[in-house]
């Protein structure tokens, strides 16, 4: 099975690899997947407290090329979005953008799960939700 050019491009030049300070109140961290399933995705967002928009997003991924590309794309899309806009990102959009074959759809699901987990973690940290 050949990879799409977009998957290869993200794999070769992944965007936003790295970690944010988990202790920062404005940072939300999502960790999804499991090593025995062959993919683990850590996705972090930092929200600007003034504008409420995601000012930075980072990922680290253990997984196949499609999982890495899905994570990379997700971080790219998250930057500049509000929480509500970020919650609206669907895995199907990732599938479409990266031309993932059916056997790789779970990689996009994982990315969507990671976005939701990071946002949930961020929201739990906010005083209004405490």
């Amino acid at each position: 099975m050949a990879y799409s050019d977009k998957v290869l491009e993200h794999y070769d030049n992944p965007r936003n690899v790295g970690s944010l300070d988990q202790a920062d109140a404005n940072v939300g961290t999502g960790l999804v997947g499991a090593p025995e399933c062959g993919d683990v995705l850590k996705l972090q967002i930092r929200v600007d407290p003034k504008s409420g928009k995601i000012e930075d997003a980072r990922f680290k991924t253990f997984g196949c090329g499609s999982a890495i590309a899905s994570s990379s794309l997700a971080t790219e899309w998250l930057k500049g979005k509000s929480i509500d806009e970020a919650l609206a990102i669907k895995n199907t959009a990732i599938v479409e953008e990266l031309a993932l074959p059916p056997v790789k759809v779970h990689c996009s699901v994982l990315a969507e799960d990671a976005i939701k987990a990071a946002i949930k973690n961020y929201q739990e940290k906010q005083p209004s939700n405490a």
Binding site: S19, A34, G38, F62
Partner: protein, 406 residues
């Protein structure tokens, strides 16, 4: 460094046909195109002579007699014929078969079918190196055991089984011994007499011959092994396997065996040295690299490594110009990681992180050096990107983490 890309390091999957083999085959496509079963004219005689010559070339490589070689389409068919054919023929004697869980599917699946037909099959576990012992087999035997099928060496991890011990046990107990020797023939010496082997499967394309042809050695004496044919027809191959013989392919298999017999000793030394160079070139420069399979009792050209914190398919993508295979689920349709690695007790996480390198006749030292460098580079890059590596570096015990499995 002079390397041509891509680099082929998947010689446990298949091999390039040796130009000398192709040369030997060519006349049998267009000039000597007779049917070896045509007994009454020169084209038939010519083909039959070529077939008989190939039988001897194959037999000489494994210490057999030419008349004990049955031609098939490949090792899958050989395994099916050996297992189902023996089961059907000896059913009155018993209904129990012993094999092991790390066999190729071409052995496992015929056994499963036999189970559905009422046979009992014992799938022995293996040790952490992938080996069974004659003692394990002895313990599993009953007075109803008719067949033991244990592969000579594993296709994924290269572990070689103690064939002579198993053969000796089977002889003592009067049980037939079949071995799938697909990976071993032509790589490591095999002697059906010395090792007490009654049935042996092999294929041409793993030994620099063409795809689509294989052979089954069927012992003729002490004991004379009989098999129920699985393909009926013109009664070719002593009635055990009907169908016009693929003369050109059989000539190719014969030529491949002849070359292997003459060059195996030197070639094994060379592929072993290259494998060790690759292993050291990777493991000396990276932490957390695990060798899967036996450290010494393994095929000379086989190297199977797990790279902790890095997923196998992702890693293959980082070394696109190098052709290897992975035990990762992502490379298979089933989404399950390698059952062979799991059988060794390798955790699912490390099974997902494995790569198999198959060094072969045409592999060069430059290719090995290039590969070692590329692997080290890709693993380093992917670990920088791996949340597992980050956690491990921070002192987190990954086995204690509650993963949100999906």
């Amino acid at each position: 460094m002079g390397v041509n890309l891509p680099i082929y390091l998947d010689n446990n999957a298949t091999t390039r046909c040796d130009p000398r083999v192709v040369e030997a085959m060519l006349p049998y496509f267009s000039d000597k195109y007779g049917n070896s079963a045509s007994r009454n004219h020169v084209f038939g005689w010519e083909a039959e002579e070529a077939i008989d010559n190939a039988r001897d070339q194959i037999a000489n490589l494994i210490g057999a007699g030419g008349k004990e070689i049955i031609f098939t389409s490949g090792a899958t068919e050989s395994n099916n014929l050996a297992i189902k054919g023996a089961a059907a023929m000896y059913r009155k004697k018993g209904d129990h078969i012993i094999t092991q869980i790390t066999e190729h599917k071409a052995v496992i699946d015929p056994c499963k079918r036999l189970e559905r037909e009422g046979f009992r099959v014992t799938y022995l576990p293996v040790d952490k190196f992938g080996r069974v012992s004659a003692a394990d087999i002895a313990a599993a035997m009953t007075d109803k055991t008719i067949l033991v099928s244990i592969m000579a060496a594993n296709n994924e991890i290269g572990t070689i089984q103690p064939l002579a011990d198993i053969g000796k046990l089977c002889k003592e107990k009067g049980v037939l011994f079949h071995t799938d020797a697909t990976q071993v023939v032509g790589k490591v010496p095999v002697d059906v007499m010395a090792m007490g082997i009654d049935l042996l499967s092999m294929t041409a394309h793993k030994i620099y011959g063409p795809k689509g042809v294989g052979a089954l050695y069927v012992r003729k004496k002490d004991p004379r092994v009989r098999l129920e044919p699985q393909i009926d027809g013109g009664g070719h191959e002593r009635g055990m396997r009907s169908g016009t013989l693929a003369v050109q392919n059989i000539v190719g298999l014969g030529a491949a065996c002849e070359i292997a017999r003459k060059e195996m000793g030197e070639e094994a030394k060379r592929t072993f040295a290259l494998r060790e160079k690759l292993h050291r070139g990777i493991a000396d420069r990276l932490s957390d690299v695990h060798l899967n399979g036996h450290p010494t009792e393994r095929l000379p050209g086989n190297l199977n490594l797990s790279f902790a914190f890095v997923e196998g398919e992702g890693l293959m993508m980082g070394i696109k110009e190098i052709c290897v295979s992975s035990g990762s689920a992502c490379t298979s349709a089933s989404l399950e990681p390698s059952y062979v690695l799991k059988a060794l007790g390798v955790g699912d996480d490390l099974a997902h992180s494995s790569l198999r390198f198959g060094v072969g006749r045409f592999t060069t030292p430059d290719e090995i050096e290039y590969t070692a460098n590329a692997v080290v580079r890709a693993v380093t890059k992917l670990r920088e990107m791996s949340p597992l590596y980050e956690m491990a570096q921070a002192g987190v015990d990954l086995s204690t983490v509650q993963w949100a499995a999906h």
